[in-house]
């Protein structure tokens, strides 16, 4: 497979579009947890119940289309190889949990903007992705998609407690709204350390790019709501919106100050990273993440020219272990991956010139 063709596979179509504040906010996601009223929840359901749900989706939604979410493909998780599962996780189309769940499936739209996880912790987990900062649009679209599913499904819903979920931390709206955000200047100036506790106090969580328990690789943070009961979806999204607006403002301010006060040091750091990416023969994933983040900052600030800023999103995905093995078409050891990672990055950068 050529690198270009491989990249086309790797980058979800929706990721190629640009969105508002795209230089700092990478993507917006809304996730809704839903369950069937009369079915036992997946954690204790038996195989027969789970297959029933799996079949229901196969019969009713395979190759169905709704709005721009066309030709939904039903992927049976247990038919996938280990590497294929990893690739879907790295594209954020499924959760790591789903790869281990019984009779699990995912319904994915052609543009990979919608993915419905089936038999995860809840029967149904709908996820919608949008490029850039588009919380309001994302919520509106998620509601429409949810209504469309509800035409055929009796949701577990209680007048007082809202949407009933397997875990008490999701009950109510069943919604997790999150934003993926690149904050190199706030990290460099250590300002982020003061901001995270403040965000936590507002009931929002700051995590690394691959969700719970992951560190903020490459200065990319994921910010999402923790509370699901007591506030409406619109209010939660509004609060998240104002937090992210503040963060974007602060990040821009920190970038400006860096350029004004330590421009030569900043340039040095950016060009060193660029050089290392262009010439390395071995590259570990955490180093790659940091270097790519620096180069992206350089592109955003106009210090590095003639390279598209999409490169960060692309390389972050391409250099993940699953994708590297998918590209090599075999299982690789950690050190083999580091060599292939370095090669891929070098080739990707030459494609630009």
């Amino acid at each position: 497979m050529s690198l270009e063709q491989f990249m086309n596979d790797a980058i979800s179509p929706w990721m190629r579009e640009t969105g508002p504040e795209n230089d700092i906010v990478l993507s917006t996601r809304i996730r809704l947890a839903r369950n069937f009223q009369d079915e036992i929840f997946p954690i204790i359901a038996d195989e027969k119940d789970l297959m029933k749900i799996n079949h229901f989706f196969k019969q009713n939604y395979e190759h169905a289309s709704f709005r721009q979410y066309e030709d939904l493909e039903l992927i049976d998780i247990h038919h996938l190889s280990h590497i294929e599962k990893r690739v879907l996780v790295e594209k954020h189309l499924i959760s790591p949990y789903l790869t281990k769940a019984r009779s699990a499936a995912a319904l994915v739209s052609k543009n990979e903007q919608v993915s419905v996880m089936i038999n995860e912790e809840d029967h149904i987990r709908v996820q919608l992705y949008f490029p850039g900062f588009q919380l309001t649009t994302a919520l509106k679209e998620a509601f429409l998609f949810d209504d469309w599913l509800e035409e055929n499904i009796d949701y577990a819903f209680d007048e007082e407690k809202g949407y009933l979920t397997s875990c008490p931390t999701n009950v109510g709206t069943g919604m997790r709204a999150s934003v993926m955000i690149h904050l190199p200047a706030l990290v460099l100036t250590k300002r982020i350390n003061r901001m995270i506790p403040a965000i936590n106090q507002l009931g929002f969580v700051v995590r690394g790019i691959y969700g719970e328990g992951s560190e903020a690789l490459g200065n990319i943070f994921q910010i999402s709501n923790q509370m699901t009961l007591g506030k409406s979806e619109e209010d939660i999204v509004q609060d998240l919106q104002s937090i992210v607006v503040k963060l974007v403002e602060q990040e821009r301010d920190a970038r400006e100050r860096l350029v004004q006060h330590s421009s030569i040091r900043l340039e040095n750091q950016i060009f060193r990273s660029f050089g290392i990416l262009q010439h390395s023969r071995i590259m570990e994933s955490s180093e790659a993440a940091t270097r790519i983040s620096n180069v992206r900052l350089g592109i955003d600030l106009g210090i590095i020219e003639n390279i598209s800023h999409r490169i960060l999103n692309e390389l972050m995905v391409l250099t993940q272990p699953g994708f590297l093995q998918h590209y090599a078409n075999k299982i690789l050891t950690a050190s083999e991956r580091d060599i292939l990672r370095a090669t891929l990055i070098r080739e990707r950068l030459t494609l630009e010139q």
Binding site: D147, D158, L164, S166, P168, V171, G172, G230
Partner: protein, 178 residues
């Protein structure tokens, strides 16, 4: 596999006992293990899982140390649909089905309050198809609040319009019922 002792809960602990060369295998649940002294309470280690479930389990150590009567009382809470007990729920931290919310109702608000900053009531989306009646109810609530405000502000003309809207909705509701 069910517990050898109570024959009710699933066995989670498996012991092999060898007395005078005679091997016996014992499968019991945690509760019976404690009652029968297979497990020593004081030597229990505190695992990460305990820490997590501790979030929902406001007084796990307290409950476990109290007498059998209380055990019996708490155990009575069992979901009739999926057979999950409140104890199971506290251990796993997850509900087994939608009906569990009803079955454990009396115990849940304190848990929700802890997890959701003091909230116990949903204030968000209502399913479009299934929540038909609820939509009318919510709409009526909003109109009544509006009406009250208009009356306080002495905007009687506006208030009359809102009052008519309420009447119309109430009629619709009754028609739907008959």
């Amino acid at each position: 596999m069910e517990c050898n002792e109570c024959k009710k809960r699933p066995a989670t602990l498996h012991f092999t006992q060898i007395i005078n060369g005679q091997k016996t295998e014992i499968q019991v649940c945690e509760l019976c293990a404690k009652k029968k002294g297979y497990m020593n309470n004081s030597e229990e280690s505190y695992s990460l899982h305990d820490l997590l479930t501790g979030l929902f389990n406001f007084s796990s150590s307290q409950i476990e140390l109290q007498n059998d009567d209380l055990f019996a009382q708490i155990e009575e809470l069992e979901c009739s649909k999926c057979k999950m007990t409140f104890n199971d729920f506290q251990r796993i931290g997850k509900f087994g089905c939608a009906n569990c919310y009803d079955a454990f109702k009396v115990k849940l608000d304190s848990i929700f309050r802890r997890v959701h900053s003091g909230n116990t009531k949903h204030h968000g989306k209502i399913p479009k198809r299934k929540g038909g009646k609820l939509h009318t109810k919510k709409e009526l609530e909003l109109y009544r609040i509006e009406l009250q405000q208009l009356i306080e502000q002495e905007e009687f003309e506006q208030a009359a319009i809102v009052r008519d809207k309420i009447r119309k909705l109430e009629h619709k509701k009754e028609d739907g019922r008959s």
